[in-house]
Symmetry: none
Subunit: 87 residues, 4 copies
Amino acid sequence: MSITSSVSGAELRQFIEKVENLEVEKAEIQDHIKDVMAEAKARGFDTKIMRQVIRMRKMKQEDLVEQQELLDIYTHALGMVVEEEAA
Amino acid sequence: MSITSSVSGAELRQFIEKVENLEVEKAEIQDHIKDVMAEAKARGFDTKIMRQVIRMRKMKQEDLVEQQELLDIYTHALGMVVEEEAA
Amino acid sequence: MSITSSVSGAELRQFIEKVENLEVEKAEIQDHIKDVMAEAKARGFDTKIMRQVIRMRKMKQEDLVEQQELLDIYTHALGMVVEEEAA
Amino acid sequence: MSITSSVSGAELRQFIEKVENLEVEKAEIQDHIKDVMAEAKARGFDTKIMRQVIRMRKMKQEDLVEQQELLDIYTHALGMVVEEEAA
DNA sequence: CTGCCATTTTACCGGC
DNA sequence: GCCGGTAAAATGGCAG
């Protein structure tokens, strides 16, 4: 009995190759980002600052989401606390 | 504030937005990868092993062998014997 | 605001601070681990392999063998032959 | 020539065991944290909220550090921009 | 080539 | 007891 018998090699291969193809696409985009940064640098901008700015803009958005989640949690929790105190 | 600053500001903004857009694209591809892995999992494949296989396929054969050898050296030095299958 | 809420708040604070203190301790130990690894690296050991060995030692032998077998199955199914050393 | 000859098994073992011991300590603290959380839960607190609160308190501290770093970067960058515009 | 930062992987925790 | 998501750790990549 072959060691391969317990899995469908063909199916596995399809999944693997699909992921690998997507990873290639991703790498291309990453390269593109690198190009843009290089161009910005050539135009005199400090890439370190740019990265920091990008990072902070991302964080700001995430914070909004975070705040909303906290609000939701508190809203639900209030119901619990009220029940709790009523008990 | 000088004209120069404003122009620089506009140009900077363009670079940053371009990068951010590319990062969005990248995130979408990453999500797609996640989907593929989830489907593979649903089809009964072990995603952890799949990831390992993908990593191995990316590595140069040379490095792969070297790393395996080093692992062997270390495990033997520690007296760790991993039970081998009789083929 | 009710007395109950204040009491709950104080109690909650106590729990949270206790957790935070424990997390500080944990971080210190983590730093210590980092130091040990750095020393090992300075002595010429490959820390990546060391980490892998530590992970392997944590795993049950049974699971370790199983995982290795699965990897073999997948690599064979994909026709990946990892060159074995002649001992 | 033995496969073990190229590394000092004794020294490696010492490093590994030291790390493992530290990891045991760390796990104990983690268990302790778990106990505290379980007790809080038993006292009626929502662990999800607690985690969120702990997380946000940590982030607040990290944000301060981040802000300072950004300030530093900007300070340095200003020098650059001034030079740039003078050029 | 070293340190730093982003990504990726692993481990954990709570819910079903 | 798995499973899904979330936080911690580790690896890899990039800039300097």
